[in-house]
């Protein structure tokens, strides 16, 4: 009945690599499933290369154009080379969230270490990108344009902190949303079970209330699953834009 039990990770077979335990776990399995699903959607969907797309090809093209528009609108036209990166981020997070909505699966995006690593990849990516594009000029990013020089001792630390906190906020937003949603589903499901075992026949009637709430929450969770993937990739686009333009 522990609503947090679903976040436990069980090792399926142990692998030790360079002294670290990198066992193949439930979490790893669903990451592999997500990658396989994304890749097969695109490859199987585009197999016919039809001029007039069928269902699966429409879906593949829809994802492509959705992310392409996202990148163009939020990261600018110069961001085209980074489209595959944003696409990979979006699809990985979206499929991670959506696969988690299937009963008996595992949501790897509900683990802070996963979301943090992803956010850190984004962070390192945009920072390396900005350094390559602008060299040392990149550090002017921390001093807002037109601000009085006297304020520099205050502004620069604030800007640096807000820059460094990006991966933290990015990862906690996704992790917290996914974890909270799944915990709530479990808690309400637990209420129904508790009512039935505690109240007997009456429990079957009163248990319908949390069940109804759970149905609504499930719908809501699908929205959150999409929305958080969208937010994650839109912020990635904005960071890429910052790296390219240095405002």
């Amino acid at each position: 009945m522990d609503p947090l039990h679903q976040f436990q990770i069980s090792s399926w077979f142990q692998i030790i690599l360079g002294g670290y335990d990198v066992s193949f776990t439930k979490s790893a399995f669903f990451m592999v499933v997500a990658v396989a699903a994304i890749y097969s959607l695109l490859v199987v969907g585009m197999a016919n290369r039809s001029m007039v797309p069928g269902r699966l090809q429409s879906a593949a093209e829809m994802f492509y154009e959705f992310v392409a528009n996202l990148v163009r609108d939020n990261a600018g036209h110069d961001a085209k080379p980074y489209f595959p990166f944003v696409f990979a981020i979006f699809m990985f997070v979206l499929f991670g969230n959506m696969i988690g909505m299937i009963p008996y699966t595992f949501t790897f995006t509900s683990h802070i270490i996963v979301t943090f690593t992803l956010a850190a990849v984004v962070f390192v990516f945009v920072t390396v990108l900005a350094l390559i594009k602008h060299g040392l000029h990149f550090f002017t990013f921390f001093m807002p344009h037109g601000a009085p020089v006297a304020l520099a001792p205050i502004l620069i630390p604030i800007e640096v902190i807000s820059y460094v906190m990006r991966p933290v906020s990015l990862s906690i937003r996704l992790f917290a949303n996914m974890m909270a949603g799944h915990t709530m589903l479990k808690v309400f499901a637990g209420f129904t079970v508790m009512m039935i075992s505690g109240l007997g026949a009456l429990g079957f009637v009163t248990g319908l209330v949390p069940l109804a709430i759970n149905v609504a929450l499930t719908g809501f969770e699908f929205l959150v699953a999409f929305l958080q993937a969208y937010v994650f990739s839109i912020l990635t686009c904005l960071y890429i834009r910052d790296a390219l333009e240095l405002h």
């Binding site: 947090l4 039990h5 976040f7 436990q8 990770i9 069980s10 090792s11 002294g19 670290y20 335990d21 990198v22 066992s23 193949f24 776990t25 979490s27 790893a28 990451m31 592999v32 997500a34 990658v35 994304i38 890749y39 695109l42 490859v43 585009m46 290369r49 039809s50 001029m51 593949a60 093209e61 492509y64 154009e65 392409a68 990148v71 085209k80 080379p81 980074y82 489209f83 595959p84 990166f85 696409f87 990979a88 699809m91 990985f92 790897f108 683990h111 802070i112 270490i113 996963v114 690593t117 992803l118 850190a120 990849v121 390192v124 990516f125 390396v128 990108l129 390559i132 992790f175 974890m179």
Partner: protein, 216 residues
């Protein structure tokens, strides 16, 4: 959709992404392994961590980071090298086909309009020609009519004149006959009543005088 996957730049940036991933995995792995050592009681991920979130159990960190780096790296490689160029290719082909068809349609429309203009021009020419012909024909008819009318009127006037002349001649003849008859009658009457033999000339003069008098 423009090609989002220019080959050279793509290779360069997949390098950057790969480098970021590797750096990060190493960094995070080191930090987290150190953290894991400080939490020996939670070292077995599969076991139930009494209290606290399973997500905060550092024993799970290295495996998750490792598999995330591996799966995401493979995903990025597959997408950027294989899947996305394929989608881009299809979308571009479709875009190209659509613009080609649109250009063709525009060209056909232009041609159709040219043909229409031609047809209208020849129609207008034909109409103008027909109008000229009609004008000419009606002018001809008019001229013909006038000529025949004039001939007819001349003929009628001529006949009228002839008829009048013959009427006048007949009238004159009749008048002369009346005069002669009157003179004869007057001479006869005078001879019978008065016994006077009036000669011809006298009787004629008297009749003429009376006629003149009556006319006057």
């Amino acid at each position: 959709m423009p090609n989002l996957l220019a080959k050279g730049r793509l290779a360069r940036w997949s390098g950057v992404a790969g480098a970021s991933l590797v750096t990060l995995t190493t960094m995070a792995g080191t930090v987290l392994a150190a953290a894991a050592e400080h939490a020996p009681d939670a070292a077995h991920g599969g076991e139930h961590a009494s209290g606290g979130l399973p997500q905060l159990n550092p024993a799970n960190f290295p495996t998750q980071i490792f598999w995330l780096a591996l799966t995401f790296g493979v995903l990025y490689y597959l997408l950027s090298k294989k899947a996305l160029p394929r989608v881009a290719e299809v979308l571009e082909a479709r875009q190209e086909r659509i613009s080609r068809d649109l250009a063709k349609a525009a060209q056909l429309k232009d041609e159709a309009e040219a043909v229409l203009a031609q047809v209208e021009a020849s129609l207008a020419g034909a109409r103008a020609e027909a109008l000229t012909l009609i004008g000419q024909a009606s002018a001809d008819i008019e001229a013909n009519n006038q000529a025949r009318q004039a001939a007819l009127s001349a003929d009628i006037a001529e006949r009228l004149r002839t008829a009048e002349a013959s009427i006048a001649a007949a009238k004159e003849q009749a008048l002369a006959n009346v005069r002669t008859a009157s003179a004869d009658i007057a001479r006869d009457i005078a001879g019978r009543l008065a016994g006077v033999d009036v000669d011809q000339a006298q009787a004629d003069a008297a009749v003429a005088a009376v006629i003149e008098e009556r006319r006057g």
